[in-house]
């Protein structure tokens, strides 16, 4: 059986890739994809810790993961909605151009 560390390393890798995308990309949708990747890395961790934890029969990790996926879906929907609304308003989805909140 594959050891826990392999799952954790994969999750960390996916998280790092997600973080890298979110921090470096200027397109709003790519940043959202990066955030989704980080969320999924977290889900991967939840499932792995559940499977290798002391009570694998209690389905707690599964519940957390399903919750997280639902939240991520809602987040993606809201985020995409915002980006589309912003794009309609100012014809761009470039995050560096979105400086209206500058103090």
């Amino acid at each position: 059986m594959t050891p826990l560390a392999a799952y954790l390393l994969l999750a960390a890798l996916v998280f790092a890739i997600g973080l890298g995308i979110a921090l470096t990309r200027r397109a709003a949708i790519l940043v959202l994809i990066g955030i989704e990747l980080m969320l999924n890395a977290a889900n991967l961790n939840l499932i792995a810790f559940w499977r290798f934890g002391p009570h694998p029969e209690a389905l707690t990790g599964m519940m957390f993961a399903i919750f997280s996926i639902a939240v991520a879906a809602a987040e993606a929907a809201v985020g995409l909605g915002l980006v589309i609304a912003y794009h309609r308003h100012s014809r761009t989805a470039d995050l560096d151009a979105m400086t209206r909140m500058k103090g």
């Binding site: 973080l19 400086t99 909140m101 500058k102």
Partner: protein, 710 residues
């Protein structure tokens, strides 16, 4: 006015035993005597609030208040007349505390006695006529309301002088009178001559007033009161006089003599006596009603009235057949003034200036009358002179008005046809002033003065000076009449008679200029008796007094001589052109030149007093700029240096540190603003960085506590 009413109320409250009893058994008019000056003053205050176009309201207020004062004055006069008994002095006094200083207090008050009553009636009556006349004379002046405001204020001040029972109250009203005189002389202030004359009058009379004030202070220091009469405790009643006579003064005088001379100096300033007479002729720059009211009939008589008021002080210490130093000084100065005024009047060409010098001269007569014959002699001439001199001035005003503001008698002539009403009344005034025998009041009053000067114990000098003055008076008045009303018209344009509002007062004054003499003939010297509380039955034997008839004869002859001489020189050969030389000038050019230049008094003052004063002013200026100014500059410089240090500390340290703090804040704010760039990737990076740091820290903490082995 308010003060006076409150004060009378206060006196009733403060002195319950004596004051209240006296106040309630005193007649109504005595308790309310203050109304007489207060009414014109209140009118002046109201007129001052009126705008220029409200001419009728202003004149109405002034004349109405004066008329009310006249009625009250008549009421006061009849009160005195009714309670008058031969042998006892009729005198109502009402005093009140004005201000208290510890135990002592300064009292003011008013007095009603024959002297005050006579003056009240004269001033209100003449004043009323002149107010009415002014309505016509000033009709076209834009400052009509201002004029009546000043006139009413003047009348109030003058009436205050008359009723004052305290030297202090008298002095206050005296200064009101001086102020209004200044304001009215300078009424046409846009004329430089009028402005200068106003200043001259004010400053010259101030010189007298300084001595007057010193006299008051001295009197207060010696007797502790400035009241004239206070039921035996007044300053000019026997008790205080005894004290004053026992005190040594200066220069061998007693305190009484010194104070009397100081007070006379004030009177001399106001009444235009030598050497303080220089302001009075210049005062003719004012409007003519002002000249008539203030500088002929009333204010200049205030000095004479003052001497009469303090006569017990002037006379203090003189036994029968003696005179005092103060009275001797008064007599000589009066006689010199009388002669000087008459001399200078001969050579003047301005119709009002002649009358001004005539006034100076007549005031000298009054002073001699006071000094040699007592209060009644001087006061009688004051009263008659007030009427006929007011008449002459108003007549002159009418002439000036009719000739379109021409004042030079050389360019007039032949006016008796154009201005008959003015001419006949002027003739009455002129004959009264000259002392034409029997029919005119001036004869009786002037003759009484000449007679008392003749009988004076001091010297015969004043008598001869007065006789010469009488000759000259008749002469210069004839000259004036001849040049103005006879001969042919030498001016431009066409003269016209003045309106009725101006000629009617002339007629009334002319009537009194004649009939007042009845009150002072030797057969029935009612006026003297009234003032001196003596019963005087009508008796032709009054003329039989030794030396009286010859003296009257001589005086009459002198008057006739003056009139004849004047007519011979000016009337029989009328002047043909305005430029022709005066007959006297042709005969005696040098003395005439001296007289025309007023004996160089102004020039004398110019080279003595004024030069010295200018030098003093220069010295003061130098002291001011160089010495005191230097000191001030030094102090100021020191403070400026201190200020500089202060400024440096302020800018460098206090402001500097504040600025530095602000700069830091700005820099910090800039950094924060840079962070707050509004770009979400930036925030996201910071967030990630923070999370990483926190995660690192958590790991580190776990490692240190041994939970995790790295």
């Amino acid at each position: 006015m308010m003060i006076a009413s409150c004060a009378s109320l206060m006196s009733a409250l403060v002195e319950p035993q004596m004051g209240a009893v006296l106040a309630c058994c005193q007649p109504w008019i005595v308790r309310n005597l203050w109304l007489i000056p207060a009414l014109p003053m209140a009118a002046a205050g109201l007129i001052a609030l009126l705008k220029q176009p409200y001419k009728k309201a202003a004149a109405g207020l002034a004349i109405g208040s004066m008329f009310a004062s006249f009625l009250l004055a008549l009421c006061a006069f009849s009160r005195v007349l009714l309670s008058w008994h031969a042998g006892t002095e009729t005198r109502y006094v009402l005093n009140f505390d004005w201000l208290s200083m510890g135990a002592s207090s300064v009292q003011l008050g008013w007095v009603l006695d024959p002297l005050a009553a006579v003056m009240l009636v004269m001033v209100t009556f003449v004043g009323l006529l002149i107010f009415i006349y002014s309505v016509g004379y000033m009709a076209h002046d834009v400052n009509f309301t201002r004029f009546f405001c000043f006139l009413a204020l003047f009348a109030g001040g003058m009436l205050g002088v008359i009723i004052a029972n305290s030297l202090l109250l008298l002095f206050m009203c005296w200064e009101i009178v001086g102020l209004t005189s200044y304001l009215l002389i300078g009424f046409w202030y846009f004329k430089p001559a009028a402005a200068a004359a106003a200043k001259k009058a004010f400053l010259t009379t101030r010189i007298g007033d300084i001595f007057f004030l010193l006299g008051i202070a001295w009197l207060f220091a010696q007797t502790g009161t400035t009241l004239f009469y206070n039921y035996g405790a007044g300053a000019i009643e026997s008790g205080a006089l005894k004290v004053l006579l026992s005190q040594p003064g200066a220069l061998g005088l007693t305190a009484a003599g010194g104070i009397a001379l100081l007070i006379f100096a004030g009177a001399a300033g106001k009444s235009g006596q030598i050497p303080l007479h220089v302001w009075l002729p210049d005062a003719m720059e004012g409007p003519t009603p002002v000249s008539a009211l203030i500088h002929a009939a009333t204010m200049v008589a205030a000095g004479v009235y003052l001497v009469a008021r303090v006569y017990p002080l002037m006379d203090a210490g003189a036994g029968p057949g003696q005179t005092t130093v103060a009275l001797t000084v008064v007599a000589w100065i009066g006689a010199a003034t009388a002669l000087y005024g008459a001399l200078v009047a001969m050579a003047q060409n301005d119709i009002k200036r002649i009358l001004a010098y005539s006034t100076v001269s007549q005031l000298g007569y009054m002073m001699v009358g006071l000094a040699t014959g007592g209060v009644a002699v001087g006061m009688f001439h004051l009263i008659t002179h007030a009427f006929f001199k007011a008449l002459l001035f108003l007549g002159a005003g009418s002439v000036i008005h009719g000739c379109h503001d021409e004042q030079d008698i050389r360019t007039m002539g032949g006016l008796r046809k154009e201005m008959p009403a003015t001419f006949y009344t002027y003739m009455v005034g002129m004959l009264a002033l000259s002392g034409f025998p029997i029919f005119f009041s001036g004869f009786w009053s002037k003759d009484a003065i000449v007679g008392s000067a003749h009988n004076w114990v001091g010297s015969q000098g004043p008598f001869w000076m007065l006789l010469t003055g009488a000759l000259l008076t008749a002469f210069y008045m004839t000259r004036q009449i001849a040049l103005v009303f006879f001969g042919k018209w030498r001016g431009d344009g066409h003269a016209h008679e003045s309106p009725l509002v101006m000629t009617a007062p002339l007629g009334i004054l002319a009537f009194f200029a004649v009939v007042l003499g009845v009150l002072g003939t030797p057969a029935w010297p009612w006026f003297t008796g009234f003032l001196e509380s003596r019963a005087v039955p009508f008796d032709w034997a009054g003329f039989a007094e030794p030396g009286l008839l010859p003296l009257m004869g001589v005086a009459s002859l002198i008057v006739f001589a003056g009139l004849g001489l004047g007519w011979m020189l000016y009337g029989s050969k009328p002047r043909e052109t305005a430029e022709a030389l005066d007959p006297v000038e042709r005969a005696l050019p040098t003395p005439f030149g001296w007289l025309a230049h007023r004996l160089y008094f102004d020039e004398l003052y110019g080279v003595t007093v004024l030069r010295w004063y200018g030098w003093l002013a220069g010295l003061s200026g130098w002291l001011d700029t160089a010495v005191w100014g230097g000191l001030v500059a030094l102090v100021a410089g020191g403070f400026r240096e201190l200020g500089r240090v202060n400024k440096a500390v302020d800018t460098k340290w206090i402001d500097g540190s504040f600025d530095k703090g602000c700069e830091e804040l700005v820099t910090g704010g800039g950094v924060l603003a840079w962070l707050q760039a509004g770009r979400s990737p930036g925030y996201l990076r910071l967030l990630a960085f923070g999370v990483l740091v926190l995660a690192g820290l958590a790991l580190l903490a776990s490692a240190v506590s041994g939970q995790v082995r790295l």
